[in-house]
């Protein structure tokens, strides 16, 4: 093939391809939402209101439910109720003492560990801090900006 023709083709198509690739990359970046995460420490409950093994429901900053369970004298767990399988909300079955996910039949024990079904991991735990008799949970404040 004629060298001049090859050079001409490369000179024509290379900048055009580069321009379109750049535009496509910019487009993909534009439609991918920008996220900002900040940790927020929020008071949830006093220990005196939460007897041993008792649970209390709260909502995190994204509106997702979580269960606060007192598991020891000064031990409290904040368990996410978002199933680790595909994100449905699990609910607490008091009689069976386990969380159940109605989407794909996943079950978790009271510590959030998987008992049955397809969930790949235990329920997420929110970090908890106890100051005096006050229980604080660290929430992630995720904002799409």
């Amino acid at each position: 093939m004629d060298r001049r023709k090859v050079l001409k083709s490369v000179a024509t198509f290379l900048p055009i391809s580069a321009a379109f690739t750049g535009l496509a990359a910019m487009g993909v970046r534009f439609i991918t939402p920008v996220k900002r995460e900040i940790n927020r420490k929020i008071f949830t409950v006093g220990l005196e209101e939460l007897p041993l093994n008792a649970t209390k429901r709260f909502k995190d900053l994204q509106g997702r439910d979580l269960m606060i369970v007192r598991t020891g004298e000064r031990e409290v767990k904040a368990i996410s109720t978002v199933c680790t399988h595909l994100g449905c909300t699990v609910f607490w079955q008091k009689d069976r003492q386990e969380f159940f996910c109605p989407c794909h039949n996943g079950s978790f024990d009271k510590n959030g560990l998987v008992i049955a079904g397809p969930p790949p991991a235990p329920l997420d735990l929110y970090p908890v801090e106890i100051e005096g008799d006050n229980v604080f949970v660290i929430f992630k404040d995720i904002k799409e900006v």
């Binding site: 439609i31 991918t32 939402p33 996220k35 909502k59 994204q62 509106g63 997702r64 439910d65 399988h85 595909l86 994100g87 449905c88 909300t89 699990v90 609910f91 996910c101 109605p102 989407c103 794909h104 039949n105 079904g117 397809p118 969930p119 790949p120 995720i142 799409e144």
Partner: protein, 347 residues
């Protein structure tokens, strides 16, 4: 200059080209209309565009207003219930007809050379139609819609390598919300129709240029001509099919109009949640496998569908005359049916 002449001059029509275009030879087997199911999804697609355009007049893609707008369409606006019901039933018929058409193509092995690429376009059209269904029922923003979006985007999130990015891209963030509904609406009314029209065009172009593959039936050898013209003969057959399907569509819409479930509640997953019937096999599969296998299974299945014309050729070379495709097809079909029935009756 008369109006007729003015129009002829402004809009010249090449009659010879038009006759060539409309007299495509159609193989005799298509006189049996049930072999020509490929036209049905296209007709349903046209119905979807028309009824969808009507629904957009009132639908509001906002999490606080979407459900109310569908409620208004269904219970307050004049004939809204009928238009929505036709839209809903046409989507079901479109998917059913597409599946039947693909089964026919698979079992008659008409995807073989030189029609491999057209089979791939067909698989793409099936996936686009399923995505149409998913985005469509998500827009209603009832409980099933919300949790379908949750599970659907969750599956996208578990895709190897690109999962988290893909889920965030589809949702427009880390949670289902305004961005999600805006995106689903955009996919459903603009992006998907555009891409679908493109692939329908490519599919029809290849059917036109490569011709319809001929199937032989007992008695066909007696026929003097092996083909018959597209216009008017085949068009008449299609009109009859379309009329029958239209009767079926309106009857289903009148007898079983589209209802409305509970409004979306992001904090409570309903105890008995199920997607639309065409996702039942995948839904059941996800219940009995771990997440990685659950997500990889459908991806591999789709890959196999795309690659089947080439896999079939390999089988034919290795085991000539053994009809391996037929038996794999039967096994695959029965497996999908078992999963479907299991999900209908199981928990």
């Amino acid at each position: 200059m008369g109006l007729k002449n003015w129009f002829k001059e402004s809009f010249p029509v090449d009659t010879v080209a038009l006759i060539t275009l409309t007299s495509e030879p159609i193989p005799n087997h298509l006189k049996r209309w049930w072999w020509g199911l490929g036209g049905t999804p296209l007709f349903m697609f046209i119905i979807q565009i028309l009824t969808g355009l009507m629904l957009i007049f009132y639908y509001v893609p906002d999490p606080d207003k979407a459900y109310q707008s569908v409620e208004y369409i269904t219970y307050t606006s004049k004939f809204g219930w009928l238009i929505r019901s036709i839209h809903r039933w046409a989507s079901n018929i479109m998917i059913a007809a597409l599946l039947l058409h693909m089964l026919r193509v698979f079992f008659t092995r008409t995807y073989r050379r030189p029609r491999e690429l057209n089979w791939m376009f067909g698989v793409t059209l099936l996936l686009l139609t399923l995505f149409f269904g998913f985005t469509g029922y998500s827009l209603v923003y009832e409980q099933m819609s919300y949790w379908a979006m949750k599970v659907g985007t969750g599956i996208a999130g578990a895709t190897p390598f690109i999962g988290p990015w893909l889920a965030d891209f589809i949702r427009g963030g880390s949670e289902i919300g305004q961005n999600t509904l805006t995106r689903f609406f955009l996919f459903h009314i603009a992006l998907l129709p555009f891409i679908t029209l493109l692939f329908v065009g490519l599919h029809l172009y290849l059917i036109r240029t490569l011709g319809v593959s001929e199937l032989k039936f007992p008695g066909d050898e007696k026929a003097k001509k092996k083909t018959y013209p597209l216009f008017p003969d085949h068009v008449y057959t299609e009109i009859i099919v379309v009329t029958l399907i239209l009767i079926l569509l309106v009857s289903l819409s009148l007898l079983f109009p589209a209802g409305l479930g509970e409004p979306a509640d992001p904090s409570v997953t309903p105890l008995h949640i199920k997607p639309e019937w065409y996702f039942f096999p995948v839904f059941r599969w996800l219940k009995i496998t771990n997440l990685n296998v659950g997500v990889l299974g459908p991806i591999i299945f789709i890959f196999l569908l795309y690659a089947w014309p080439f896999i079939d050729r390999l089988f034919e070379k290795k085991f000539p005359g053994k009809e391996i495709t037929f038996w794999i097809g039967i096994a695959g079909f029965l497996t999908i049916m078992v999963f479907l029935v299991w999900e209908i009756f199981g928990h």
